[in-house]
Amino acid sequence: MLIYYYVEGDGDDELFINRIIKPLFDDTTSFQIIPYIGDTGINSKLKTSYSLKSQGGTDVIYLRDSDFNNHPRSITDVKTEVLDTYRVEEEDIVIVVIEIESWYYAGLTPATCRELGIDIYPDLDLVTKEKLIECALRKGLTKKQLELEILDHYDLDFAIQQNDSFAYFINLLQQRFENLEIYT
């Protein structure tokens, strides 16, 4: 099985998928991560991905930040916006609330937060890129260094319980792929 992950493209989504999602699959599944922001040929790539999907052995997942903090709207509105712009099928769209940084934070238990000296946010859906940068600066790390540290301590079960959009994503993967190893 080959899964095409279409991600926004600043590297955070890719790192998260490679470190957290990829290990959930066995060796028979390979990943192709395709950043789409600023890529003028993205619809051609999507078309090709769907063409391969129709032949079997391939799947498509499209991740999109809800960006609710900058543009208040519903998840349905975001999906409609995606469908208006990209040649992607609705069932393949996963909306990340608000940004992928909230998925990073979701996997940190309060004990791990204390151990790493990271603030505990009561509402994980509100964790944004800016919050992560603020936290990195406080620790004297770059954003990527902090992300790697978080991923090293990531508790997947806890993340699924804490973050609805991440739980939706994992549930979608479980429904589609039998070889997914998640113990919740």
Partner: protein
């Protein structure tokens, strides 16, 4: 401390007047436009700062390689403006300057330098309410950064005095007509604590000891003034030299070619946590890497072995690909070398486009702490960098190099409004005629 602007006259093809640099910059341009000359200028400055003027001239290959050979002048002059990047949660060292302005004019006679003029202006922050190394409150940081973003370089003018009891004092050392004079302005000398006074006095002393007879520039004391071993370095990594077994005689910094990379890495690998962090970073670039280790070849030499998922045994240095090694050097320069300013010449050499994208992210990521300036011919790297950080170099009819920020150029904006990207303009050489 980041370099905010440079002015330079008669250095190779450079004639720049207060040309500004951002937290990170990518410098592009056709062959012979002047990229290398700008890098040479930064090397010259770095060599003066890390060593001295004589060494800097020598490493340029002598005076003939410094002066613009189209000009009849045997003088160069330059002005450098440095200032701290102040971030939330920063602890400002009140006994170190937050802002440095340096100017000099040098004449060459019989291949020897004569310092005609030189001036260094150091601005310090001071607060009665705060101890040395205290964190600046967040609301003040926000005010400061808003003003920094407005490209006003002198931090001491940006600090909102009314928000806290901040004051400024200045040390200015000047050398004119073979005379050195030092002036100091304190808000109120009686208010300064002993540590601050000691720091101030030690800086005064090094300037006072300068003699007009020697060619030791004030700039050669820049690292000391900032309390650092090194602040600026220029790297042109050669992966072929990294592959060779490395002598254990190590330096405290990675050398420009990366030749002592294995030794620098060995120091990181002594600490298991640091090794793990390094490998995590490495795998984020190259997911096929499982691990890395340093092996002693004999009592004098060590080599780097990379564990790749394709092989059962670690890959020996002579079989590691250039790109795989190049990423080790990039991570080292960006994340592990304790420098304020890092210049990288064509860091994307040997890298696959997908990895070049990750390199672009890493440059932006590290610029939170370190100013990164890179030169490149890569349209792929250009594609992934924020447009406002791109500097384009071209050559004018008079032979001088012209540096511009294309993102602010009206013609470029016009092109880009028609769905053309900056990289398209670069590839098709449209930027050269703008």
């Amino acid at each position: 401390m980041f370099i905010r602007s440079i002015s330079v006259q008669n250095f190779k093809t450079l004639e720049l007047d207060e040309f500004e640099f951002k937290d990170y910059n990518i410098i592009i341009g056709p062959n012979s436009a002047g990229k290398s000359n700008l890098v040479s200028f930064f090397k010259f400055i770095a060599d003066i700062i890390n060593d001295d003027l004589e060494s800097a001239i020598s490493r340029q290959g002598g005076v003939k390689n410094i002066l613009n050979f189209n000009q009849n002048s045997n003088e160069i002059s330059f002005k450098l403006k440095f200032s701290e990047k102040i971030k939330p949660y920063d602890k400002i060292a009140f006994n170190r300057p937050v802002d440095v302005i340096y100017t000099t004019k040098i004449r060459f006679e019989n291949n020897s330098p004569i310092i005609l003029e030189e001036k260094i202006n150091l601005n310090f922050l001071y607060s009665e309410e705060m101890n040395i190394q205290e964190t600046i409150p967040e609301e003040i940081i926000k005010e400061i950064n808003q003003k920094i973003n407005a490209n006003d370089n002198e931090i001491y003018q940006k600090i909102p005095h009314e928000l806290m009891d901040l004051e400024f004092y200045t040390i200015t050392a000047e050398r004119i007509n073979n005379e050195i004079s030092i002036t100091t302005t304190y808000p109120d000398e009686n208010d300064l604590n002993i540590r601050l006074m000691n720091s101030l006095q030690s800086i005064r002393t090094i300037f006072e000891r300068k003699s007009y007879k020697d060619n030791s520039l004030f700039l050669s004391d820049y690292n000391f003034i900032l309390g650092k071993l090194s602040t600026i370095r220029v790297f042109d990594i050669d992966t072929k030299t990294i592959m060779k077994p490395s002598s254990q005689k190590s330096e405290k910094y990675l050398v420009p070619s990366g030749q002592n990379l294995v030794n620098r890495l060995e120091k990181i690998f002594y600490d298991n946590k640091k090794k793990k962090d390094f490998l995590n970073m490495y795998q984020s670039f190259l997911p096929y890497v499982k691990g890395a280790k340093i092996e002693r070849e004999n009592s004098n030499y060590s080599s780097l072995y990379i564990d790749e998922m394709y092989n059962d045994n670690p890959t020996p240095p002579e079989l590691i690909s250039d790109g795989t090694l190049g990423i080790v050097a990039i991570i080292m320069t960006l994340y592990y070398e304790d420098l304020d300013i890092t210049l990288l010449e064509e860091p994307e050499k040997y890298l696959h486009p997908e990895i070049i994208r990750k390199l672009a992210n890493a440059i932006e990521d590290t610029s939170m702490y370190k100013q990164v300036i890179i030169t490149t011919h890569s349209s792929e790297l250009l594609k992934h960098m924020k447009k406002e950080h791109v500097i384009f170099v071209s050559r004018e009819q008079n032979g001088l190099s012209k540096f511009i920020y294309p993102s602010t150029d009206e013609k470029v904006k016009e092109f880009m409004s028609n769905d053309l990207q900056l990289e398209d303009l670069f590839i098709n050489n449209f930027l050269g005629v703008i």
